[in-house]
């Protein structure tokens, strides 16, 4: 077991990030599968990588904060309460490096990322008639992300 662990700790951070790319094409997963997948990714990351390195890695930092934020705010209607959550504010504090991570997450699963994206980028590609329509708002930001080169 020690041998396995010592080998696995050499796994490149990019390999962990690749797990996220797998998610992007899994568009028809159940809620339970998604939860299990998220927990699996977190447990793998915790096992493989020392916490100090995890936190310095933007993808792992983003994923950890995202899970904390989602769990704590899922029942809320107040966008203000959702956006002032400490984990969400830490994601905003990551700055431009968080933009592709947020957009990839939005591509996988729509969420209340609009406040964060507007705060980080200073832009808002959502048309006034689209306000509150999550699917259309998400599509507008994904389109923006492609135009800006953040998404393929």
């Amino acid at each position: 077991m020690t041998y396995v662990r010592s080998r696995i700790t050499k796994v490149d951070i990019a390999d962990i990030a690749d797990i996220a790319d797998i998610d992007i094409i899994n568009t028809a997963v159940s809620k339970e599968s998604s939860l299990i997948q998220d927990e699996y990714k977190r447990s793998v990351a915790h096992y493989l990588i020392p916490f100090s390195r995890q936190w310095s890695n933007p993808f792992i930092r983003f994923s950890t904060l995202k899970v904390e934020w989602e769990v704590d705010t899922a029942h809320l209607s107040s966008i203000t309460e959702i956006a002032i959550h400490p984990a969400y504010q830490q994601i905003i504090g990551m700055g431009p490096i968080a933009i592709p991570l947020i957009l990839s997450e939005m591509k996988r699963k729509p969420g209340h990322w609009f406040w964060a994206l507007k705060s980080i980028t200073g832009e808002d590609p959502v048309l006034p008639e689209q306000t509150g329509q999550i699917t259309q708002m998400t599509e507008a930001w994904l389109r923006w992300g492609k135009e800006q080169g953040y998404l393929r």
Binding site: E32, H75, I79, F114, V126, Q133, I134
Partner: protein
Amino acid sequence: MASLGQGTRVFKVSEETIEHLFPNLRKDSYFIASPETIDYNCIAWAAGNSEKWWWPDPQNQYFWPPGIPREETIEAFVKAYELLGYSICQNPEYENGFEKIAIYVDSIGRPTHVARQLSSARWTSKLGKLEDIEHTLDGLAGSKYGYVAVIMKRSK
């Protein structure tokens, strides 16, 4: 314990989550009425809309009825529902010919949640981006949504 029919397995995770968030639901019967979706929230659902997320956010990113102050105050929420024909009343009991809503507020009076009464006299709520449930008013009272501060009604 939620009374669940078809789709019990689908809602199992949600049931545990919901009862953890709203322990008062365990005292009364409630059930999950639809799968979770982020397309709309409780404010919209109470207004009869299942296509938009309503909130008076300062960034103007979410829907709020035009002409109503974008403020997280009970006054602004009352005005929003007055636009839909509701007026304040005192009694949450079911009245034939009327549809009622209940506005919950937190400890400092900020609106947190809105529930709508059904013809069964029970209440329907969308829990953030989680599921719709049918419940009693007390079932959602507590540390998360606070308490019911205003009841409004309109003719059906």
